[in-house]
């Protein structure tokens, strides 16, 4: 058999061009393979559990998870799931340490087997290891393992426990394939694979119609984005004849014309793909609905990893975007617009997960703004820090919802466990969650020492600095939008914290007694993530701020750490940028240096947080049951998400379904089938005409005969 099983088993793979620089990958294939093995193991357990619960349902009842001794199928996944992730994280760490030591200048490509092969196209299933993919691998496996551990606690008493971990492991596998793929098609495999897993996980409780619909919506909207990705790949293939990253990104500067139609088309298609996956303006509608899935899923997929795939893709093909100012402007524009738009919606939401969902869309907008203006490292930096504090916030909200469920379950009252209006005053009852979530909130708001400040501020600064180059007026506008969105972020996050943790408790006296802190498996990840959110920002303190008060007068260890780390990956793009656009400006559009604006932004955020805290304490918040939906005015508009969903429904979904029905009823059954059946009935009609002559009366036949003879003779006589 020509299937080179050998190379896969060895997992070493050819070590590519790495000998020179001494970076010697340590079993890189294992990182990808482990989640796959986890998926297969959990999958088998899930199938067994599924068969047992199916028999129970068929017998008329419902299979309940026995309280006392949990069946094998529900204990093993808690070991396999997180275990596999932690192992993958360990291997990644080893590789990271090795890569840290070696001065790696070009990516290490390790092919395993040829996937597609024709005369003109050759695509191998290959892994590409370089600084960028290493950062992503760290984020995916690191945050992923924490979320897996959290899920053990959160999903403990869900009958579909093994199935949950099957999908989660499969997701991490596809995410790693996406991040470590060495060519666009392999990345695309991961790209749609994560789309599939988000479909499965959002619709995890598939018996509930809305949740299944949300999953379907996510998949279809992602697919719309994937079409863009496909078209970009076709364009790249027709120009370069190959689809691997290394050759394309090397030969891009000389083959593609700067700002030419081709490169703009490619980048715009890639943007469409990224917008689909990272929920940006036109295709963001699926993310808020994706909250229908379990909360750890929202944390992992819809905060930390999957939605950042778009940003990673832009960073990976940074050269193309550098060559296409129009493309980059579009990315930045979409990013800024999404940031502001999503922030406005988040202001009025009452569902805690919806607030966080729109906050994610908004923060992704920032990342897009970052990579759009050419500050790729800033974008990736924000991606990393966002993964930390947004995962923290989501898991925190998960802990809150979990304990709310327990309380309501105990007393049997049917209240929406996710509605903030039913919460309030949880600080005393859930101190750990409360403190860690405050850390996350301050981080996302951009308060000084925390990670959010450094990454978000850097993006805002570069947006402002880029205002100097071409399209200056546009970038200045984006800079202002970014600042406004930052203020809004601070407001809605504080509002969320206050409604959830502060003020009087609105769940009800009896339930309140049952509200207690989340178990250890859930609170430990929270604490760890909180730590990351605090110290995460220090790895990349901007040079200008390093010795000012911001950088504690030089005390912080790794100034510009991430910049140096991602230097080789972004080198090509920055060269192109330097050649065509010139360096970033020193001053923001309204004057003032980086330090000045950094101080301004953190003070602004602090002011907003304090102000909201003061104002919010006087709000009278009625529990969800009494308080109706906000209808009129701006609040109603924002609560109704600017009626975007209804708009999409009217201009896209309904016409498509109507046309389908029309095509089927009228065109297919009517015209095409009509013609086919018509030929049948026409021939029957001719038969009828013929039969009129057959009257059965002898003389008619004789008469027809005579007429025939006469005609024949006449013709012959002529």
């Amino acid at each position: 058999m020509s299937f080179p099983l050998g190379t896969v088993v060895a997992l070493e793979g050819a070590s590519g061009a790495a000998e020179a620089t001494g970076f010697e990958p340590f079993l890189p294939g294992l990182v990808v393979l482990l989640p796959l093995l986890g998926f297969l193991a959990n999958g088998a357990l899930a199938l067994a559990a599924g068969r047992r619960s199916a028999d129970a349902v068929r017998a008329g009842g419902e299979w309940h998870l026995p309280e006392t001794e949990r069946p094998l199928t529900h204990t093993w996944p808690s070991l396999i799931g997180p275990g596999v992730l932690l192992a993958a994280f360990a291997v990644t760490l080893v590789n990271f340490v090795r890569m840290w030591g070696a001065e790696l200048h070009e990516p290490v490509v390790i092919p395993y087997w040829t996937w597609l092969v024709t005369g003109t196209l050759e695509v191998a299933v290959a892994i590409q290891l370089d600084q960028l993919s290493m950062v992503m691998m760290l984020v995916v496996t690191g945050v992923g393992s924490l979320i897996h551990v959290f899920s053990v606690g959160y999903m403990r008493d869900d009958p579909g426990y093994p199935r949950y971990f099957t999908y989660l492991n499969l997701f991490v596998f596809f995410m790693l394939v996406l991040v470590m793929g060495a060519s666009f098609p392999v990345m695309f495999v991961g790209w749609e694979g994560v789309g599939l897993c988000s479909y499965l996980l959002i619709g995890f409780w598939f018996r509930d119609r809305e949740k299944a619909d949300a999953g379907k919506k996510a998949f279809i909207v992602n697919r719309i984005g994937d079409v863009g990705f496909l078209l970009a790949m076709f364009l790249l293939f027709t120009t370069f004849g190959t689809l691997d990253f290394v050759p394309i990104l090397e030969r891009a500067p000389e083959t593609l014309v700067y700002g030419g139609a081709l490169v703009s088309a490619v980048t715009l298609f890639l943007l469409l793909g990224a917008a689909g996956k990272s929920a940006q303006i036109p295709l963001y509608v699926w993310l808020p609905d994706a909250m229908a899935g379990p909360t750890p899923v929202s944390a992992l997929i819809h905060a930390a990893t999957m939605v950042t795939a778009g940003v990673y893709m832009v960073a990976r093909s940074s050269v193309l975007f550098a060559l296409a100012p129009a493309g980059s402007l579009a990315v930045a524009g979409i990013g800024a617009l999404t940031a502001l738009f999503a922030a406005t919606i988040a202001l009025t939401q009452y569902d805690i997960k919806k607030v966080l969902a729109y906050s994610t869309v908004s923060q992704l907008g920032y990342m897009f703004l970052g990579v759009g203006v050419g500050a790729y490292t800033a974008g990736i930096f924000h991606l990393m820090t966002h993964a930390f504090f947004k995962a923290l916030l989501f898991l925190g909200s998960g802990a809150v919802i979990h304990s709310m469920h327990h309380a309501l379950h105990r007393t049997g009252r049917h209240l929406d466990a996710q509605d903030m209006r039913n919460m309030g005053g949880l600080a005393r009852r859930m101190p750990v969650t409360w403190t860690t979530m405050w850390v996350g909130t301050l981080a996302i708001a951009g308060i000084w020492p925390l990670a959010g400040f450094f990454s978000k501020d850097e993006i805002i600064w570069y947006a402002g600095a880029a205002a100097g180059g071409p399209h200056a007026s546009w970038y200045a506008l984006f800079w202002m939008i970014a600042l406004a969105a930052a203020a809004l972020t601070a407001f809605y996050m504080t509002r969320m914290m206050l409604m959830t943790f502060h003020g009087g408790n609105r769940t009800g006296e009896e339930e309140a007694r049952h509200l207690h802190e989340a178990p250890l498996t859930m609170s430990v990840p929270l604490v760890l993530l909180a730590a990351f959110s605090v110290f995460g920002g220090w790895i990349n303190v901007p040079a200008a701020l390093h010795d000012g008060w911001v950088g504690l007068f030089g005390a912080l260890p790794m100034g510009e750490g991430l910049h140096h780390w991602l230097e080789p990956v972004v080198a090509a793009a920055s060269e192109v940028r330097a050649e065509h656009v010139g360096a970033f400006h020193e001053t923001a559009p309204l004057g003032g240096g980086e330090l000045a604006w950094a101080t301004f932004s953190t003070l602004l955020a602090a002011a907003v947080v304090a102000g909201t805290a003061a104002v919010a304490s006087r709000w009278r918040i009625a529990p969800a049951a009494e308080a109706g939906e906000p209808t009129g005015g701006l609040r109603g508009l924002l609560y109704r998400k600017w009626y975007v969903d209804e708009l999409y429904d009217h201009i896209i979904v309904r016409p498509v379904v109507a046309t389908s029905r029309f095509l089927w009823r009228v065109v297919d059954a009517g015209i095409v089938d009509g013609i086919v059946n018509a030929t049948g009935s026409v021939s029957r009609a001719f038969g009828l005409v013929g039969s009129v002559v057959q009257t059965g009366v002898l003389s008619t036949y004789a008469f027809v005969l005579t007429v025939g003879v006469v005609v024949v003779l006449a013709v012959m006589a002529l």
Binding site: Q694, T695, G696, V697, L698, S699, A702, T706
Partner: protein
């Protein structure tokens, strides 16, 4: 003389055809057919004046066929009569779809 008799035979033939078309009595129709055959015999004889004896010979065969046909035809009419109790052609419409 020959052309006159040819015209005569054409006339007789036409009258025979007319009889078949108009009459509804099977026997009479049958008679008319015999008349038509006779007209044809006349043409044969007339033309045998030009062609030679073969014409007359052929009449001989036509007559035998006419006899055979008459016999069978009448037998059919009898068996139909036995079934329909009438020889009116209109009532034999078994073939009507």
């Amino acid at each position: 003389m020959i052309t006159d008799s040819l015209v005569l035979s054409a006339l007789l033939f036409v009258i025979g055809t007319l009889g078949v078309l108009i009459r509804r009595n099977a026997i009479i129709m049958f008679l008319c057919i015999e008349l038509m055959l006779n007209a044809v015999n006349l043409t044969f004889v007339a033309l045998s004046r030009l062609v030679g004896i073969d014409g007359q010979l052929f009449v001989f065969f036509v007559m035998t066929v006419a006899a055979a046909e008459a016999a069978v035809g009448l037998a059919i009419i009898i068996s139909i009569f036995r079934h329909y109790e009438t020889v009116d052609v209109q009532s034999f419409n078994l073939l009507k779809w």
